[in-house]
């Protein structure tokens, strides 16, 4: 990585740390409690749960774009970004699937229900998990990469279905923001959510960059090994 990229990465890291350092006390100390019937405090999960879902969409979109480009014209960089997108979508999707049920336990009385939005989210995360497992264990050949890229494209097609599932099929999941929802009724609540979106965007960018760089390094190493073996300089046995 060159000096300029190092500086940008360092700046991104500091900005992410600062935004999280501001966000966490803000959520606990300034954002008012809401949804009294669900215990009041449990609603504060919302300020991480929704931005984490948004970060999952963001990483899924990166996975989709890079996968589609890889299918169009394969390259190590496109494969690395597709892989990083799927891995980060898995991480953020797991955060959503962990925080949501804990909130649901208080709001609905159960950890899980086969609500359309919950089911489609689970399905999407499982598709990204399958991409990650495939790339980790099925080898590094062109066929495996193309198959994973096709799965990455299909996984992201599910994302708009998650988003509009509440409108189309109803269910228990709240629709507070947009889509006819009543919105957040306190300025501090809106502020907490907006800072949450900024924090998760920065975190997603950081993690995507790290994982893509790692995948690219592994690909470059593989190419060097292949070249060294082909030229007879290397004999691993």
């Amino acid at each position: 990585m060159n000096k300029r990229a190092n500086a940008i990465f360092g700046g991104l890291l500091v900005a992410t740390a600062c935004v999280f350092a501001y966000l966490i006390p803000f959520i606990f100390l300034k954002a008012p409690i809401a949804q009294i019937q669900a215990g009041g405090l449990a609603q504060k999960i919302f300020y991480f749960h929704v931005p984490a879902a948004y970060a999952m969409y963001l990483c899924g979109t990166v996975c989709f774009g890079a996968s589609a480009l890889y299918l169009y014209g394969p390259s190590d960089a496109r494969d690395a970004w597709a892989r990083a997108g799927a891995e980060c979508a898995c991480a953020f999707g797991s955060m959503v699937l962990l925080s949501g049920p804990l909130w649901a336990r208080k709001a609905w009385g159960v950890y899980w229900t086969w609500d359309p939005r919950l089911t489609t989210t689970l399905l999407s995360v499982l598709v990204y998990v399958s991409v990650v497992v495939l790339r980790a264990f099925a080898g590094n050949g062109d066929a495996e990469r193309k198959f994973a890229a096709a799965l990455g494209v299909l996984g992201t097609v599910n994302l708009p279905i998650i988003h509009y599932s509440v409108l189309k099929w109803g269910g228990n999941h709240p629709t507070v923001i947009g889509q006819g929802g009543g919105g957040l009724r306190h300025p501090a609540m809106i502020q907490a959510l907006m800072i949450g979106f900024v924090a998760m965007t920065l975190l997603a960018a950081l993690l995507l960059w790290l994982r893509a760089r790692l995948a690219l390094s592994a690909s470059r190493l593989l190419r060097i090994e292949e070249r060294a073996i082909a030229s007879g300089q290397l004999d691993y046995d």
Binding site: G39, A42, E87, L98, L102, L210, A218, A228, Q233, D235
Partner: protein
């Protein structure tokens, strides 16, 4: 439906419970604050696990680079 009143707790060993009977309309024993803490701790734990896995993968790549260097040195 079998509904029963539970007896008050007693310090006498002979009065200890010998069976558990389901009651209707019991209060919710899960507190909102413990769920909130569990959600935040769980999310940070997941994030740290992801960073740790990245670190391990980086270490594997570095290990392969060292092996490659050694193998190339030997072949010279």
């Amino acid at each position: 439906m079998h509904v029963n009143q539970e007896k008050p707790a007693s310090s006498n060993p002979s009065d200890r419970s010998t069976e558990f009977v389901a009651v209707q309309g019991g209060g919710d024993t899960t507190s909102a604050s413990s769920l909130l803490v569990a959600a935040y701790v769980g999310m940070w734990a997941l994030l740290l696990l992801f960073i740790f896995l990245s670190y391990r993968r980086q270490a594997r790549v570095e290990g392969r680079i060292s092996e490659l260097e050694k193998a190339l040195d030997k072949s010279r």
